[in-house]
Each structure stands twice: as C-alpha cells, then as structure tokens.
Symmetry: C2
Subunit: 199 residues, 2 copies
DNA sequence: GTCTATACGTCGATAGAC
DNA sequence: GTCTATCGACGTATAGAC
C-alpha cells in the first residue's frame, strides 16, 4: 500500500531522463529550461523536482549513467578477454562503434556538456572517460610491445583513434548510403592500417 | 574630423570579438550573457549593441570569420599547388594542424555551436565546412585514382581523418610532453599509414 | 561612444492546496 | 504525485541623457 492510486512516478522519472537527453543534445544544457522539459514530459515544471534535486544533478546523472553503461558494457562483452592485441583492437573498434552509434544523443551530451558541470561532477566524468581511454591505450601498448603495431606514439594514437571513431556520430545516418556493417568494416580498415598491421 | 575625441570604437569592437570568443568557448553560447561579455570588455551591456546587431549575429560573425579565414589560408598557402597526391596530403595535414592548433577557442565554437545558429546562419557555416571537407576529399580521390592511396571509402575517410586531426585540439597543451613539431609528425604518420602509403 | 535606467520576458526553484 | 501560484534573480534589448 505504499503507492497511491493513479500514481505513475517511475514512468515519469523515465520520461524525464529521456526528454532531458533529447533536449540537451539538440539545444544544449544551458539553452533548455526546466519548463521545456516539463512540457515534453507532460507535467508542470515544479513536478520535476520530485525526480531530480536540480538541473545540474539531472545533467550529471545522464552523463554519469552513460559512462557507467559504457564501461560496464565493455567489461561484460562476450568475446574472449585473453586474445592477441590485434584481435583485441578489432574487438574494441567493433564494440566502440556498436555502442556509440545507437546512442547519438548521450554521446553528444557527454562530449559537449562537460563545461556545464560543476568542478566535482566534471572530475567524475573525466575520470570515467580516462578509464575508457586506458582500455584502448593498454591494447595499443601490448601490440606495440610484441611488434604487432607500429605507432610512433601510443598515447597520441589513443586520442587520435577514439576521436576518429567517435566522429562517426556526427555524420552517420541510418537511411544513408552505407549500412552499419559496411561502416564498421571501413573504420576497422582505417584503424588497422593506421596501426601498421593488416587483418 | 569624422571621429570625436575620446572615442575608441575600433578597439572596443576588437575586444568584443575576443571576449565573446573566449567566453563562448569556455562556457557555451547559451550560458554566456551579454552582461558578462560587457563586463569583460569594460563597458555596459547596452554599449555592445553599437558593435553587433544582436547576440545571434555576434556568434555567427565569429564562426563565419573563422571559416573564411580557414578557406583563405588554404588558398593562400605557399607550397606548390600542383603536386602529387601524397605530397598534397602531407601538405594538408601540416596545414590543418598548424591552422587549428593556435585557434582552439574558434575551432571549439565552430564545431560546438552550430545548433545555436538560426537555420539560415547554420546553412552558411555548414556550406563553408563542406568546402573544406571537399578539399581533403579531392586529394584522397586523386590519390586513390592513381593507386597511391588504398582507402576502402574516400568519403568516410575524409570525415575520419578530419575528426582525427581536429581531435588534437581537445588534448594538446603547449606545456605538455610533446612539441608541436613532434605531434605533427605523429599525426602525419597516422594519416599516411591509414592511407596505406608511406613517405 | 558610452552611459543609466528600464521594459518585459523567462529563468530555477519552492510553498502549499488537492 | 501533480497542480497552481509565486519569489527573486537574471536574460536580451531599447530609449534617451550626456
């Protein structure tokens, strides 16, 4: 008997996250008002504060959830963990593309709205991002150590490859001329070539 | 005798552009107020409207000037224009890095604030961006045609390489462990490797 | 050319009825 | 759980004095 009749709090909470994700990605955190979000959810602005402490916390929670999902999805991947660097790199590229592409809004927010987080929240997100970069960096170092890869600098290569892969989100469209499978192969070829190796 | 004594409009106009560039890059267009900009310039908010029609026009002018500078700088480059694709690609990579790196704020704004331009202004900037992408795309197609490059898809490669190169702006710091010259060589190696060719 | 003053709207967030 | 009403602050932009 904990819940009153007619209540639908869980549904509203979910709608809030979804509406905020779409609006923040489209217009930017600072340009979106709580009233706009409330209108999208179908409640009054005041009602949103039942589900989030304030606007800043709402943004942080979206970004934090995204980064946690990303790291957990990598940990929970089904491909074998103990494989050769070249196979790890292929695995990472495919994972990155397939994780990021269907989450265009979340990715956009996580990369663009760091500056609108307060310092402590910003630090949390940047730490999570570093963890993700470290995953790729370790793969590159391992492959460099056994002679598979031929990077001039693995740290720079880490940044360069992630930027290259994530950039796909800015142009890829489902209805475009290339299927997801094709794009995946194209980027995989670019990465492997850049690494100085071939599949 | 056209100018009254004590006037310094040209200086104020320049300060306005510079203050807006720094503040928009740091906090985002929507999060920055005209009052903030005015404070930085050292005048009252109302005085800014002597130098810009409104806030939207101010943002557009900054972005438009940046894109025009970029395209004109490429046109005015001193290296020979009629050279082999492999040399053109090297030239483009070095140009891109050396143009973008000292303009971190302008680049950031031009890539992040498109969504805050009204539709017609947005179209102008996107057209200029397409022109720049077409420069690289033509180089890649030429090299592909004569067998120098081995891309699976030159259109995707264009996006991928530009994203990779521009991503440098997010991590490079003058006081970091790598000099500009070193980073330039590192990225050049990545690009040439990705192209399936070597210098 | 720059100022003060201000119009007028919207903001985030809260209080209290239902 | 959601509503209406509202607070106090701040937003862009303009008018008119100097």
């Amino acid at each position: 008997m904990a819940r009153k009749s007619g209540s639908n709090g869980e549904k509203t909470a979910k709608q809030l996250r979804e509406a905020a994700t779409v609006l923040f990605a489209k217009n930017g955190y600072a340009a979106v008002s709580m009233r706009q979000i409330a209108r999208e959810v179908g409640v009054q602005a005041g009602a949103l504060y039942l589900y989030t402490a304030d606007k800043q916390t709402l943004l942080f929670d979206l970004m934090d959830q995204h980064m946690q999902d990303l790291l957990q999805a990598w940990e929970g991947r089904t491909t074998p963990h103990a494989i050769a660097p070249i196979d790890q790199l292929e695995c990472f590229v495919r994972f990155h593309i397939r994780f990021h592409l269907p989450r265009a809004d979340e990715v956009f927010i996580s990369y663009m709205e760091l500056r609108n987080l307060n310092p402590e929240n910003s630090k949390v997100i940047q730490t999570a991002r570093s963890k993700y970069e470290d995953i790729l960096h370790k793969i590159l170092r391992d492959g460099q150590a056994d002679g598979t890869f031929k990077f001039v600098d693995t740290r720079v290569a880490t940044f360069a490859l992630i930027a290259m892969l994530t950039g796909m989100n800015t142009w890829y469209r489902d209805e475009g001329r290339l299927s997801l499978d094709m794009v995946e192969e194209i980027y995989l070829d670019l990465v492997m070539s850049a690494a100085g190796t071939k599949r």
